[in-house]
């Protein structure tokens, strides 16, 4: 695609871009689909869909150990996707990119492997606004390994409490910080570079859960100086079944493998196996070959749109939503973080979020409702559930207006 060089998407550009997402022209309950659930999983542009299909049609075989043409082509495509991801994240080298099933597996990999190097008495530090994916693996590690799990609080606005964060780091016992780069509930974009710096000064390593952040902002892991960074393909306009762990090379090299199997070994006897160099050491078995290639295409597609454009468009959408939604009687936006990505959670009087979601759905509008896999955050906010609208590069201001208008009518209906 080619988009004019302004700092935001023109109407024509946006409709051209939307035309690349076949699903956006579907109807739901007879209404045109308005998809405001991209933070749960984004829709895929046709280049991704077609590219995956094309690979399976014309250049597919298992990779790595194959000496024949099809296998070499598949291997090349898979490894090119790795290079693409490395470049996308600004990694120091392509060997620092490990393909996983999703973000959840990437975090569990670190919890099992790096976690096995953390000693009783040491601690892992998370925050109050973590997705279960960046909470439960650390709880399980705590219970397995007898380490401490510390939780950095957030303010009522939904910002991380930096003083408390600093205090929790101060005794030098924190071995690893694991914190979100962007909250999937509040939209809060955390001050990642600061968090890294503070963690490092306290002698801790840091993992950033970039599942949401990477979709909306240009991320550079070396500039952030992150030790681990994770994201998931299906939220990045890419396929399901593929995720990414970035890890600093010297850490990855010092870590034991997570899963055992083919391709992660250097040699095997019944007595003893030795491990392959990174990244192979962490990629046991046949990887999600076609999905990795699909992810590479999705990244190419995003770069062709341009991150400046994506950021500007989503910032405009978010601003618009924060202007029109509070005008809906009874509606309260949840959280007021200093820096927010395109995710807006809200409640409306005592209309239950599930009823909001179902009634929006009847009108073609897809939002999420519930605890958004962040139960402890809900409890902290004194809520059991919220409704959440989340925006993607294909979202329009008009869609947000329709959301607001429909919410008004839903409320009238209940009051």
């Amino acid at each position: 695609m080619s988009i004019s060089e302004t700092d935001s998407l023109s109407h024509a550009d946006l409709s051209h871009l939307r035309g690349q997402f076949p699903i956006l022209s579907q109807t739901v309950h007879g209404k045109p689909l308005i998809f405001l659930d991209s933070a749960a999983s984004a829709q895929k542009p046709d280049v991704v869909i077609d590219g995956m299909a094309e690979m399976m049609r014309s250049q597919y075989a298992n990779i790595h150990r194959g000496l024949h043409w099809m296998s070499e082509r598949s291997t090349e495509a898979y490894e090119a996707a790795r290079s693409r991801v490395a470049e996308f994240l600004g990694a120091g080298s392509r060997e620092e990119i490990i393909f996983t099933h999703n973000s959840t597996e990437a975090i569990n990999l670190v919890a099992y492997s790096y976690g096995s190097l953390i000693r009783p008495g040491q601690a892992v530090l998370i925050s109050e606004m973590e997705h279960h994916a960046n909470l439960v693996p650390w709880q399980m590690l705590r219970d397995r390994a007898g380490i401490d799990l510390r939780v950095a609080p957030i303010s009522d606005d939904g910002d991380l409490d930096l003083d408390a964060y600093s205090a929790l780091l101060s005794d030098g016992k924190v071995a690893l910080v694991a914190i979100t780069h962007m909250s999937n509930v509040l939209g809060t974009v955390t001050p990642a570079a600061r968090l890294v710096e503070m963690a490092h000064s306290a002698g801790a390593k840091i993992l950033l859960d970039g599942s949401q952040a990477v979709v909306h902002r240009r991320v550079n892991v070396r500039e952030l100086d992150a030790d681990f960074y994770t994201f998931t393909g299906h939220k990045l306009y890419g396929p399901t079944g593929i995720g990414v762990l970035y890890g600093r090379r010297e850490l990855l090299e010092a870590m034991p493998p997570f899963m055992g199997g083919g391709d992660m070994i250097s040699s095997v006897t019944f007595e003893k196996s030795t491990w392959a160099p990174v990244p192979a050491k962490f990629e046991a078995g046949t990887p999600a070959i076609v999905e990795a290639v699909g992810l590479g295409i999705a990244i190419d597609w995003m770069e062709s749109v341009g991150f400046d454009m994506i950021e500007a468009h989503e910032a405009a959408l978010t601003k618009h939503a924060l202007r029109v939604l509070p005008d809906v009687p009874g509606l309260s936006i949840v959280g007021k973080p200093k820096d927010r990505g395109g995710v807006v959670s809200f409640t409306m009087d005592d209309v239950h979020p599930h009823d909001i979601a179902t009634l929006l759905d009847r009108n073609g509008i897809a939002v999420r409702a519930g605890h958004h896999c962040a139960e402890p955050l809900m409890r902290r906010l004194g809520l059991t559930a919220t409704a959440r609208a989340s925006f993607a590069v294909y979202t329009t201001e008009h869609e947000i207006d329709v959301l607001a208008a429909t919410l008004r009518r839903i409320r009238q209906f209940f009051v």
Binding site: H29, G30, K31, V351, H352, P353, H354, D355, T358, L359, D361, R362, N363, A369, G370, H371, M378, T384, A385, T406, R409, I410, F413, F414
Partner: protein
């Protein structure tokens, strides 16, 4: 706005002002049902006598479907025998879970009219549990004695 037949007048009305909220006089049993997926919670308070369910009240925290379903359940089972109530619970749950379309079922279900308000849920399967939660809790309560 298309509210669809799901949010029909009786469901919305009952969710706004449940008629059987509270606790039963001469309570003989309690039961609780929760849906951890969404935090819905139904608390039932029963007065059961030999010849059947004398009184049934509830405290429900949840969505409109859940509150209305609980309230309409209370209305429907009061005065019935335990066996009758359990049979109704089974029929209601089966009706919602069965794959046949709402249209096919309307007649066969043989459910009290008020409960038929939930038939449109069949096309919103993710919400089924909101309606069946109180019935599951009732089943537990009645089995416990």
């Amino acid at each position: 706005m298309d509210a669809c037949s799901l949010y029909d007048a009786v469901i919305v009305a009952r969710s706004r002002s449940p008629q059987y909220a509270g606790t039963a006089k001469a309570e003989t049993a309690r039961a609780q049902g929760t849906n951890p997926l969404c935090g819905d919670r139904v608390r039932l308070s029963l007065c059961e006598e030999r010849d059947g369910i004398r009184d049934l009240r509830h405290e429900t925290r949840g969505c409109a479907i859940c509150i209305a379903s609980t309230d309409l359940m209370a209305e429907t089972v009061m005065g019935r025998t335990k066996a009758d109530a359990l049979e109704l619970a089974r029929r209601f749950t089966d009706m919602l879970n069965s794959q046949s379309s709402a249209a096919d079922l309307d007649d066969e279900a043989g459910l009290p009219g008020a409960l038929q308000a939930f038939l449109p849920l069949k096309t919103h399967r993710s919400r089924l549990r909101c309606a069946t939660l109180p019935w599951t809790a009732l089943g537990e309560a009645l089995k416990h004695d």
